[in-house]
Amino acid sequence: MKLTRKEFLLTAAATLAGIAGTKTLSTVKAAADDSTGASTPRWAMAIDFQKCRWDQGCNQCVQSCNEAHNIPDVPQKSHEVKWIWKEQYKSVFPQQSQWIDPALTSHPLMLLCNHCGTPPCTRVCPTGATWKRDDGIVMMDWHRCIGCRYCMAACPYDSRSFDFADPRPDIVNINPAFPTRTKGVVEKCNFCEERLGKGQRPACVEGCREHALIFGDLNDPASQIRSVLRSRYAMQRNQELGTGPAVFYLL
């Protein structure tokens, strides 16, 4: 059989399209089959305004997180990488009462990924590089992320950072137990899933000397977080967006 160049190119294109189509179909099918029903924990965190000592310069939660997760100390502020950071009450809760006791609201609050019940970031991710686990943790796969930053546009909490350059030279002390990231990917708080897997509490919770951070399972009625949410008024950021945040601020 003699092929002209045109026929060869057409056949090659058709074959490639066929391979791509088959692969797509099988992946979509696998995704559809993936259903779970087991009762699993729903991890959440509560931050106690009254105990937090940020006004006195305590920064222990941020430091513990930075050390545990190889967070680079990027000199250029606009390219900053942060998993936990602080903001003033009035920028975190602009829609809430500004007349609360200044002792509680005048110092900055701790911010982190809210590990939403219906996360907008995982919905928009075109590769499944960020997804929600059954226990509610919103995860990142730094090997799959293509760096399109759609998740950053979709996050209503400003929780995601992008590695605008290789972060490794800016890491003060590399923790060999946790992966470092490459340039061009998005990263954020992972609720210390690597520690939870070993039965430990998140690094920020361990680091807080004032016990202002309460971490636990919302599905367990006997957990400390459930008890504290029963008895105290708790605020959630941008609740009206329907994201179901798992981070609570206790007044």
């Binding site: 907008p120 928009v124 075109p126 399109c148 979709a154 605008f164 994201t243």
Partner: protein
């Protein structure tokens, strides 16, 4: 067929060389971005999309606007459009390739781009954007190639091409609708989360695209002696006038809703664009320049005697194109990030590297279009 683009006058080769130099400059600067990371751009943690995504959005519109010549010619049998329909389709092909390149240079990990195919995510609008854009590229490439191929052999277009052309019409609407959904589906960004986004995108596309077509026709008349006729220029001018009016109307509707309702985030986002917010003159000068260009263009387009003057029409079309380019190609994207969810305003200015990479992509688009049009003009001249 493509060999016809490889012979030409001195002027043709000067133009091609100029474009090649710009493409090479863009490529060199992209190498720099590739080795350092997106830190060489003006983007930041707060403004995480900028010129690249803006230009992507704008050129999806230019590509979609091909229907403004395809509909009259194929659906309404308006013969005046006979020599323009192909220009629209070729412009669509070049624009879509530019769009894909703008997405590619915006990626932090471009070598992983095939993950979009390997791990398809139908819940992501970006997945559907990829499907619709590649489909539209394929449709227009098939239509343009087969039309020209038939003409070259002195045959009528193959009969199976008609349904393909009809399919390309809703497909064109879909590419810009899906692109609007990229933004309007985000609750985190009040400036974007509006149902008017898709209609507004289509209206601005149908103004900017035909405005560019009029300019291209004028260039072809002067430089290649290819004359699609005066009548079609008048028809296109009417299309630009209506579409630019609808687009402006929709912008005003947005501004009213955001400001009058007093919703804090919408109000702040709009104030950042058109006024002063927290004492900062955000993008005010940029937005007002764009608005004044549009007002001036509409003035010219609304007055028949002015619109019929060649110089005035060219100026008005240039103004419409630049105005919408400024608004949709940059301001709309950057504005969506202002203020950030925690109320921070962050200035964004594209860096020289970013402009050079964009210049490289525009030049590559212009180069492709030049070559496509050269082939078309040569084939049609030979047929006559």
């Amino acid at each position: 067929m493509i060999e016809k683009a490889l012979t030409g006058s001195k002027r043709y080769w000067y133009w091609v060389s100029l474009l090649l130099v710009c493409v090479a400059t863009g490529a060199v600067m992209y190498m720099r971005q590739l080795s350092y990371g997106l830190g060489v751009t003006g983007m930041s943690r707060e403004v995480s999309w900028g010129l690249y995504i803006g230009q992507f959005t704008f050129f999806v519109g230019v590509a979609a606007s091909a229907v403004m010549v395809v509909i009259p010619y194929y659906l309404h049998n308006a013969k005046q459009f006979a020599r323009v329909a192909i220009i629209g389709e070729l412009l669509a092909v070049s624009s879509i390739i530019m769009c894909m390149l703008f997405i590619l240079v915006d990626l932090g990990q471009p070598e992983r781009v095939l993950n979009v195919l390997l791990f398809p995510a139908p819940h992501s609008v970006m997945f559907w954007d990829m499907v619709s854009l590649s489909g539209y590229l394929l449709l227009n490439a098939v239509i343009a190639y087969n039309t020209l191929n038939a003409e070259q052999r002195g045959l009528p277009s193959p009969s199976w091409l008609k349904p393909v052309v009809y399919l390309s019409i809703p497909w064109a609407i879909s590419i810009h609708t899906v692109t609007a959904f990229l933004y309007s589906g985000l609750a985190a960004r009040p400036l974007w989360m509006t149902a008017v986004m898709a209609p507004r995108f289509l209206a601005s596309a149908f103004a900017a695209g035909p405005a560019l077509l009029i300019l291209l026709i004028v260039i072809l008349q002067k430089s290649a002696g290819y004359d699609p006729g005066e009548e079609v220029i008048g028809k296109l001018a009417t299309i630009v006038t209506y579409a630019a009016s609808v687009s402006t109307f929709l912008v005003l509707v947005e501004i009213f809703t955001g400001l009058y309702s007093g919703m804090p985030h919408d109000r702040e986002a709009l104030t950042y664009q058109y006024g002063t917010l927290h004492g900062l003159w955000g993008m005010t000068a940029w937005m007002w320049f764009s608005s004044l260009l549009m007002i001036g263009a509409l003035f010219v387009l609304y007055i028949p005697s002015l619109r019929k003057s060649r110089v005035a029409l060219i100026t008005a079309c240039g103004a419409v194109f630049v105005s919408l380019w400024m608004e949709k190609g940059l301001a709309l994207i950057v504005g969506g990030f202002q203020p950030s969810p925690v109320g921070v305003l962050t200035a964004y200015r594209p860096t020289c590297t970013e402009w050079a990479i964009a210049l490289g992509i525009w030049s590559l688009g212009a180069l492709m279009l030049t070559m496509f049009l050269k082939v078309t003009v040569t084939i049609r001249a030979a047929v006559q």
